[in-house]
């Protein structure tokens, strides 16, 4: 989707204390053999800080930096990956109450780790469709420090990190203009994150440990017996999604200063994102990803905030936000930096 007159006016993150990989190895949480090969340095761990409180903290920063009054916010979209608090209860309204505290719609948008980018899209759609609207607050927040989750071994493809993030999407202006945003899905690949697990009763209601690798192992056992899973090259879908948003923005990869991508494992980043795009690690965000772990939909905002706050970007630069999620689905967005917040 080509965006018109939509900006990021404020950005905020809430990344908790890091646990170093060395400590994780010493305590027996992380495989010593992976210490070197993973390239990981530390992982953000929130302990008992609730996920919505990290979203609130990030949102307050984003609102302050946006210069918007609470009255300018016309909706709140919260986009977590994991459980937020009491079942059925609405985390988005809790976040709304503790930030702008206005009688506007608050809702949750679930799309795995692509939720932040798709929330930007729907926020832009809302602002474009409703003439009297001014701004939408988008938040994310997850804490995987729960029983039944081992963040260090839940998947071969990443170590889970905790954190919150927020952006104020505005028609009034901001530090970055949203040029385009979109995604490409592979419907049949939903099986890849389901494996052999039954749909009912939902596994969380049974208090079962989360083990994504066990689902993959189930599919690999079937594959070895000739039942081919719906596999695809992540890089092909990345290129399809990125080509589309670049074309809508009237740009090519040569125009992209940096790519803020999902904080998945280094071999996934290299083989699924960077090599297919024809760029190397210095144009990505591995330098910060390796210090946080994979914080759901928060990765791209942490990456962007890092690039802005460490002088990696200048006005006029273009940034590609890139996320791959369960679905499977890959999404991307193109930003033009207009000022350094």
């Amino acid at each position: 989707m080509k965006a018109d007159n939509v900006y990021l006016a404020g950005i905020g993150t809430c990344i908790p204390e890091r646990v170093t990989i060395d400590e994780a190895v010493e305590r027996g949480w992380y495989d010593a053999a992976l210490r070197e090969s993973s390239g990981m340095i530390s992982v953000a761990v929130a302990g008992d800080t609730p996920a919505p409180d990290m979203a609130v903290s990030a949102a307050r920063d984003a609102l302050k930096r946006s210069g918007h009054d609470p009255g300018d916010i016309d909706a709140l979209i919260h986009t977590p990956v994991f459980h937020q608090g009491p079942d059925i209860w609405s985390a988005p309204h809790y976040i709304l109450h503790h930030t702008v505290d206005r009688p506007v719609p608050a809702l949750e948008l679930r799309q795995g780790c692509l939720g932040m980018l798709t929330s930007l899209r729907f926020a832009a759609d809302l602002l474009s469709a409703e003439p009297d609207s001014t701004a939408v607050l988008v938040t994310a927040g997850d804490n995987f420090s729960t029983p039944n989750v081992d963040r260090w071994s839940v998947s071969d493809n990443y170590v889970l990190g905790d954190g919150g993030s927020a952006v104020v999407v505005s028609k009034r202006g901001g530090f970055a203009r949203l040029l385009s945003v979109g995604s490409v899905s592979i419907p049949e690949a939903e099986l890849l994150h389901r494996g052999g697990d039954p749909l009912f009763p939902p596994s969380a209601t049974l208090g079962k440990p989360l083990d994504l690798d066990a689902r993959v192992d189930h599919l690999r056992r079937q594959w070895a017996q000739g039942v081919v899973p719906p596999l695809f090259h992540l890089g092909d879908v990345v290129n399809e999604a990125v080509d589309a948003v670049l074309a809508e923005a009237g740009l090519t990869m040569d125009d992209i200063t940096r790519v803020a991508h999902s904080a998945v494992a280094r071999d996934q980043v290299t083989n699924g994102f960077l090599d297919p795009l024809g760029i190397d690690e210095t144009r990505g965000t591995w330098e910060v990803n390796r210090r946080t772990g994979h914080c759901g939909g928060t990765d791209q905002i942490v990456g962007l905030d890092h690039l802005l706050s460490t002088g990696r970007l200048r006005p006029g630069d273009h940034v590609l936000l890139l996320a791959a999620a369960v679905g499977m689905e890959v999404g991307a967005a193109v930003l033009e930096i207009t000022e350094i917040p």
Partner: protein, 88 residues
Amino acid sequence: MSRPVTDDTATVPAAPAAPTADEIRDAVARTVGVAAEAIADDTNLVAVGLKSLHMMQLINGWRRAGHRVRLKDLAADPTVRGWSRLLS
């Protein structure tokens, strides 16, 4: 680093020489982390540890060399013999 040639947009100037069965075997062995001797022409590569990520890595290399190949095709016949046919 040049962008690997993708399936649909490939414009290969001259057809590159197809990798031999032994070259494919060695590449798989190196990427998966097993001995090449453990891989016969008809060994199911999934049984020796092949994962989707390994295929992505192998395909990126083959595409850089100008070979047009899709992951789903390789996944449907995960043997050195099958891949030799697909890469020829």
